[in-house]
Amino acid sequence: MLGGIYSLLSASFFIDLDAVDVAFTEASVGAGISTLLMLASLKLVNRYERKTRYKPLLALGVITITGALLIYGTLDMPHFGDPNAPAQQHVVPRYLNESMAEIGVPNVVTSVLASYRGYDTLGETLVIFTAGLGVMSLLLVSSRTKKESKNLVPADMRQQIILRVVAKMMIPLILIFALYVQFHGDYGPGGGFQAGVIFAAGVILYTMLFGLGVSQRAFHPEVIILLTAFGVLMYAGVGVACMLLGGNFLDYNVLRHDPIHGQHLGILLVELGVGITVAAVMITIFYKFTWRTVKHKYHQ
């Protein structure tokens, strides 16, 4: 089983190494959270798989055929780094050239994300929200477990004093850095998605080191669950506000007198909504997995 985790880790690392773009922030963030989630669920199932459960011959045949077909397909593709490839032709030059005049945000990824393709992002946020709902309903726990978990789960790693002290120092910095990423997304790499995940990672570190009880006192699970919905509502609410002010849905130009200021405000609010949803969903998922562990440990 461990091999799986490490392949996951290094696969995520490889993304970071190869291309040098804004998307990497995302990837590095993914490395942390997805590893933690994998571990949390490994805690719930058997850690070791049985040996010799493996039918490689059929699979090898299938993937050889697929691979041959795929490589045959690439022969018609444009070269790596070709500026005349079809992918660079249609809407992209407009995004790059007009973004500064229309939106006034130097980071084109943010402007595409939040303004040009705002519908897409609203959809993605809803998908994340729905996934969070799914995890919540799959891993239901009784309120008794929740209450008991406050007392039953002591702060783990009590022996690691240095670690706890250093973590106490680091966690506020992590949270502040998440806010920086959130609000600096217009000018540098960053934005709601990354900030949400970093914030959630900080909270998860807090939970891991100081126990569920302490962390639940700081971040109430009920409030967090409400916040998942609040983020999506905030996003959609900005769109509705635009409609009420006479524009199209998610057309931020009408939010202020000056279209560029309107765009700034709109992007800021929308990114905040995304960040709140992502952070709340991630924290909720982690709480759910931890509660489930408590249930396994003490109620069976």
Partner: protein, 137 residues
């Protein structure tokens, strides 16, 4: 030169095949999820490499640069990564439930248990008819 310019696709294909192989060949559900994640990263890779332009830089506008990579691909992948994590979490939650229901996360064990359950149900419904059982198995 003509063919070597396509090397990014080949790396992507190798990664895709590794992920695909893990999904097909392993019975363990968590390993299957890991395979899916590798597959996913390969697709992310593909998009980013399509969006890359030689000599270009990250799409954060600045006076010193003229050529930027494709911001659209970055934007799509950025959302896809976070969505991918949350769907993976959903899958993991399903696996946890399966473990609780069946006591195992190996696919073949789950299937044998399922067929056994089916047989038992049919036994209850129709009574122990011998030829029925043998025909089914």
């Amino acid at each position: 030169m003509n063919i070597l310019g396509l090397y990014n696709y080949w790396i992507v294909i190798i990664l895709i095949l590794i992920g695909f192989f893990i999904v097909i060949a392993h019975e363990n559900l968590i390993k299957k999820l890991v395979g899916l994640t590798i597959f996913q990263t390969a697709v992310f890779f593909f998009y980013i490499s399509v969006g890359k332009i030689k000599g270009a830089t990250a799409p954060i506008l600045d006076d010193r640069w003229q050529l930027y990579s494709n911001p659209l691909a970055h934007c799509l992948i950025l959302t896809a990564i976070v969505v991918g994590i949350s769907t993976t979490a959903l899958g993991l939650a399903l696996v946890v439930r399966i473990q609780e229901a069946y006591g195992s996360i190996e696919e073949d064990e789950i299937q044998t248990q399922d067929t056994q359950d089916q047989l038992e149900c049919q036994l209850e419904a129709y009574g122990p008819r011998k030829q029925f059982l043998t025909k089914r198995i």
